[in-house]
Amino acid sequence: MGFEQFEIQLIASVVAAACAIPGVFLVLRSMAMMSDAISHAILLGIVLAFFVIPDISSPLLIIGAALSGVLTVSLVELLNKTRLVKEDASIGLVFPVLFSIGVILIARYAWNVHLDVHAVLLGELAFAPFDRLIIFGNDIGPKSLYVMGTILIINLFFISLFYKEIKIATFDAGLAAALGFSPGLIHYGLMSLVSVTAVGAFDAVGSILVVALMIAPPAAAYLLTDNLTKMILISVVLGVISSISGFWLAIFLDANIAGAMATMAGVLFVLVFLFAPDRGIIAIARRRSHQRWEFAGKMLAIHLLNHEGTQDEERESQIQHLEENLRWKESFARRVVHYSANNGFLLVNDDRLVLTTRGREYAKESIVDN
């Protein structure tokens, strides 16, 4: 592995980590599509700032461009306030305009410089190690590593400083307001973080794949834990795994690195989606099938209890009747009876079912505790 390759992976990992942190809150606050809007809209900010400061990794450019992300958020909210269009439509109306202006500006005026339309979508991670930060004549590493490292530290700093406030604002906006944390302030604070991160990551992975790194790892982490701190940690880890494995996938296929990172983030999500211990669909299916028997047993017990001592008890407690009235298939009904008898809930008496004392208790409990 060449040193350049190592540096690319390092940069990619830092980008992924920086994206995952605000991403957790986007996923939790149901604002994922806002990151899509922001990452598109900042293109205009980058282009405009680029005309003034033609250095894509300059902090001034990053802050200037990030402003356009915040502007997008407020434009969307302004449009919502008119109540002329629905909330989702206002996101869908705002960012295409800003993005289009950005693309046209690049195509017309900046097409032969560093920015081009492809870099907008793909990023230029492969070239990142060539742009070095040189201080007092010493090469201390690729510039974008420092840029993204700084953004990562800012994200970490902001999140840990306001951890409690953001947590409350995320899970209970009403309580946050009552406690005196302005939900609006926290909202815009987070949106600023998203914007700054998107601008910084833009150079490396392009505008749309920023979204992949912000959303896919936190979405997967959301299926793995209920604890906010753990969710952040897992997101970062998943993000880093996506970028490193994505890098090697790209080498192997001789394809674009950022696209491969997004692909791997997707693959990781699918793996978690399938195999997550508690919320994966395999676990869900298994639990459901178990619950189905338990539930059917309860249903049968309650059914028998309801008709105990009534005039139609004789009819309602026959096995044949289960098919007819509960609409259970015969084989299913027999298995439920078998299951319940095994658990000691009922006795089978010439095709008639009789609840045991235990079964009666079980039915009563089931009714009470739902």
Partner: protein, 272 residues
């Protein structure tokens, strides 16, 4: 699909059975969590019935199960002796007012005409006949002058009346209504009640999810008390008792005074 069946059914064509709705051993669960447990409920023809019960008792789910809108875990439902998918044309439905987007670009008359879509069947568009029916239904609910209004310009009570008119043009035998009094003004409430009683007098069966316990004896002649299980159902005089209400609402109802021979009034009950 049974849309292409006969245009309008008379009582004479119906099953001999006296009962409008029969629910047997109905259990409904969302993700294996029971919402309704083993419900047996019979609604005789020609009653005006209130379904009451606390929040989360499964009132809406019961109505939706009768309409075949939710999957049942067990049990069966019959409307005039046949499954509800065979009897779609006999059943009229008034959903909760909040279940639709009132900013949808359409007029009051258009919404009411939707009640005829089932009878029209596939592809055929509503015509003069449907317009006439819609306007006369709007007249019945006192909304004729709003026929061409955009629906977003209506008040809550007016929206509810539009939904009622839509159910009326369905010309059904059985009406299922989900909280038709939710958020309406007193005038509308009175108008709706008299309309429901008129429906009952003409032999229709009306089932209403209702929240206000105090008005049950006054408005309805039949009631079902529900809290995941069916606590009781029958004529209001017989089943709307303090004992049954306590069973339904647990400790959450405080009864202040007995109200004549048949009812109880209460305060402090959580509605909504």
């Amino acid at each position: 699909m049974h849309l292409d069946k006969v245009g309008s059914l008379n009582k004479g064509d119906l099953d001999m059975s006296e009962n409008a709705i029969e629910v047997e051993d109905l259990t409904v669960a969302y993700q294996e969590k029971p919402v309704l447990w083993d419900i047996d409920l019979t609604v005789p023809e020609g009653v005006l019935m209130a379904i009451v019960g606390p929040n989360g008792a499964g009132k809406t789910t019961l109505i939706k199960a009768i309409l075949n809108l939710v999957k049942t875990a067990a049990g069966q439902i019959k409307i005039y002796g046949k499954t509800s998918s065979d009897q779609k044309r006999l059943v009229g439905y008034v959903p909760q007012r909040g279940s639709v987007d009132w900013d949808f670009p359409t007029s009051v008359k258009d919404v009411v005409m939707m009640g005829r879509y089932g009878a029209l069947g596939w592809i055929r568009r509503p015509g003069k006949e449907e317009q006439k029916m819609a306007l006369s239904a709007l007249d019945k609910v006192g909304m004729l002058q709003y026929a061409e209004r955009q629906i977003s310009q209506l008040s809550g009570g007016q929206q509810q009346r539009v939904f009622l008119a839509r159910a009326l043009v369905q010309d059904a035998q059985v009406y299922l209504m989900d909280e038709p009094f939710q958020g309406v003004d007193a005038t509308t409430e009175r108008a709706i009640v008299s309309l429901l009683q008129e429906l009952r007098k003409s032999g229709k069966t009306v089932v209403v999810v209702h929240h206000d316990l105090q008005t049950v004896p006054e408005y309805f002649d039949w009631t079902a008390l529900l809290n995941v299980r069916l606590i009781a159902s029958g004529p209001v005089q017989e089943v709307f008792t303090e004992e049954n209400l306590r069973l339904t609402y647990g400790g959450r109802v405080s009864f202040l005074k007995h109200n004549g021979e048949n009812g109880v009034s209460n305060i402090g009950q959580r509605t909504g």
